[in-house]
């Protein structure tokens, strides 16, 4: 499975896993939050899988459950108010949800790492960045102060922070947004994790800096064959880097597909709507396609398919029956009763 000479993303998603477990498999995960206003079902049966060296983009709007799923994988949800009533998160075949907290914290950081949208608030303002990167080595590897600092400088070089040796004793606020995100990335890859979860890593950054960061992530991934889960709402970023995509809506996966398939022809009306609403050059001066209505309220989810109030393909059974994830091909699935019609483009 970990054969760097095989460029996994060129293969169909499942071919690398025959007879073996994928690097990460989320299976029928449910997460809910107890709030004053009632139970919020943030994640309702999400399943996805990822192999080493692969990039999975989880695409969705705020409230779609994409970040909550990632936090559940990482084991950083506050429980309570969060609960995981059902589901499995298998990392190399082991269900993380069955492990003790101390076992999980062994995996966290060493094997699964995460970077966040807001690097400034994720870094501690009262310690130098060198100290914070070096701490990873001191705590997890028991290195001496000197050796860990040398490693920190090495890592800062690796994420291309100019003049790393001089800047190792600077504080987070002395760096620009892009540089801070690089420091976050340096910390996350410090212990050579097998899986990196990036939650909107470039949303707060400018496009030219975003391009730098995405290139850096791609390079690091090539070097170490990490699996990368990229959580984003940006259809452009997804098209640039993803091997496969899971589209989330209202706490469910609505479409799962290799990247080229989805942009060529979406199999779920929500994905189709998102792609159609991108302004295109030849649409200049015309009205943009707009998905009507609003994202669902998690406290008051629509019956049946959560997308039905906004869906142009809606039929009567969409209001009553929750659509299962229909398999379209070996690598593709859609949670729409009428995925054939969506693929054909015959709106109801």
């Amino acid at each position: 499975m970990k054969n760097p000479s095989v460029d996994t993303h060129l293969l169909p998603a499942d071919s690398g896993t025959i007879g073996t477990e994928p690097l990460l498999a989320v299976d029928n995960l449910h997460v809910e939050f107890g709030t004053r206003a009632g139970v919020v079902r943030a994640v309702n049966g999400v399943s996805y899988a990822l192999n080493a060296g692969e990039t999975l983009a989880v695409l969705g709007e705020s409230g779609s459950g994409k970040s909550v799923t990632a936090q559940a994988i990482m084991g950083i949800l506050d429980m309570p108010p969060a609960r995981i009533p059902k589901g499995e998160i298998r990392f190399r075949g082991t269900d993380l949800l069955q492990l003790s907290e101390s076992q999980r914290s062994q995996i966290r950081g060493q094997q699964i790492a995460m970077i966040f949208q807001d690097a400034l608030s994720a870094l501690n303002p009262v310690f130098t960045v060198g100290w914070q990167i070096a701490e990873m080595f001191r705590v997890h590897k028991g290195m001496s102060k000197k050796a860990s600092y040398a490693k920190a400088v090495e890592l800062m070089d690796r994420v291309r922070i100019p003049a790393a040796k001089q800047r190792v004793n600077d504080y987070p606020h002395q760096f620009s947004g892009g540089m801070r995100q690089r420091i976050m990335i340096a910390m996350s890859i410090a212990l050579d994790p097998d899986l990196l979860i990036a939650d909107e890593p470039t949303t707060a950054l400018d496009v030219t800096v975003q391009a730098q960061i995405m290139e850096l992530l791609a390079e690091l991934q090539r070097e170490s064959n990490m699996g990368l889960i990229l959580i984003t709402h940006d259809l452009g970023v997804v098209a640039d880097v993803a091997d496969k995509i899971a589209v989330m809506y209202g706490g469910r996966i609505v479409e799962n597909a290799p990247v080229h398939d989805i942009y060529r022809n979406a199999a779920h009306p929500y994905t189709k709507g998102l792609l159609d609403s991108i302004p295109r050059v030849d649409m200049k001066g015309q009205e943009l396609y707009a998905i009507k209505g609003l994202p669902p309220n998690l406290l008051d989810m629509p019956t049946g398919c959560a997308f039905h109030p906004r869906c142009p393909f809606r039929q009567d059974n969409c209001v009553t029956d929750v659509p299962p994830l229909h398999e379209i091909s070996g690598t593709r699935s859609s949670a729409c009763h009428y995925w054939r019609e969506v693929l054909d483009g015959t709106a109801g």
Binding site: E287, A290, K292, G293, L294, D300
Partner: protein
């Protein structure tokens, strides 16, 4: 293009919180009514307020009338006629405790009123105008803030002298030292809401400083001041008792719980009830206002939800 209007109007939309009352104030009121702490505090405070306005409802003896005292029955213990016993002058302790509520509540209410209005207004101006207005007002506030409040009040009242001391001098002494705290809180709240986008939007519409302060900043900066005012009420009542106990606050023949505690302290071992009952009323009153402040803060601060 023809169907844009009908397409875009989200007709079937339900607002997220439909059953709840709408404005943030009524939202807070809705939360308050469901808070046990608030209900307990509110009932206690309501009883105390009624007690301070019409003490006759709770006691058949008029403690303000010194002719009801009878030296021949001085220092008696608990009995059916005098449930809390009698004091050094033969006055009924129970009725004195009831009648003592008036001074406490008045000191609490008026000190709070003065500090909130003064500190609130100056805080609003300092926070809104900034620059030298802020520098002058803030420095002035710091001068008063630097004085330890009990010591300062003691000093002021000592200067005023016993013969002039009374409820209004106590209110004055407490207010002079407490308004800077309200100023600070108001100033901070005003400064944070001053930079909000809706204030910028109002400026872009051409709104003048009066409208911006009155309609946009004040309503959004009021919550922390209300919380502090409520809690201060309890603090002032406690401070009045302390000053009266030390002999510089309320003077006999006015009735104050602090004064009663002072009178009873020498015979505490013989007649503990003479000290315990006013102390108990004092504690309950202070606690009620602090609880109220707590409940109000929980209701007004959406971040804690």
């Amino acid at each position: 293009m023809s169907d844009t209007l009908t397409e875009q109007k989200p007709k079937s939309e339900k607002p997220p919180k439909q059953k709840k009352p709408a404005s943030l104030w009524s939202d807070a009121w809705y939360d308050l009514r469901r808070s046990k702490v608030f209900i307990i505090a509110a009932v206690l405070i309501a009883i105390l307020v009624v007690m301070s306005i019409i003490p006759g409802l709770f006691s058949s003896v008029n403690a303000f009338d010194s002719s009801t005292c009878d030296l021949s029955i001085a220092r008696q213990g608990v009995s059916a006629a005098h449930p809390f016993g009698t004091d050094n002058l033969g006055c009924d302790t129970y009725s004195r405790v009831i009648y003592g509520a008036r001074i406490s509540i008045m000191v609490g209410v008026f000190s709070t009123l003065v500090t909130t209005l003064l500190g609130g207004l100056l805080g609003l101006l300092a926070g809104f105008y900034g620059r030298w207005t802020d520098t002058i007002l803030s420095r002035l506030a710091e001068v008063f803030f630097a004085i330890p409040s009990t010591l300062g009040a003691l000093l002021i009242l000592a200067v005023v002298g016993r013969e002039n001391a009374g409820i209004w001098t106590v209110v004055l002494a407490l207010s002079v030292l407490a308004w800077p705290m309200v100023l600070r809180i108001m100033r901070a709240a005003v400064m944070s809401s001053k930079s909000q986008d809706y204030v910028i939007a109002a400026r872009a519409l051409g709104a003048g400083p009066g409208r911006i302060m009155g309609r946009h900043i004040l309503p959004n900066a009021l919550a922390p001041v209300i919380v502090v005012a409520t809690m201060n009420m309890g603090v002032f009542i406690a401070a009045e008792a302390a000053l009266s106990f030390l002999g510089v606050g309320i003077q006999s023949p006015d009735i104050s719980w602090g004064l009663m505690i002072a009178d009873a302290r020498n015979r505490f071992l013989q007649a503990p009830e003479a000290l315990l009952f006013p102390a108990l009323f004092l504690s309950i009153t202070v606690l009620a206002f602090v609880m109220l402040g707590d409940a109000v803060r929980d209701a007004l601060d959406p971040k804690l939800r």
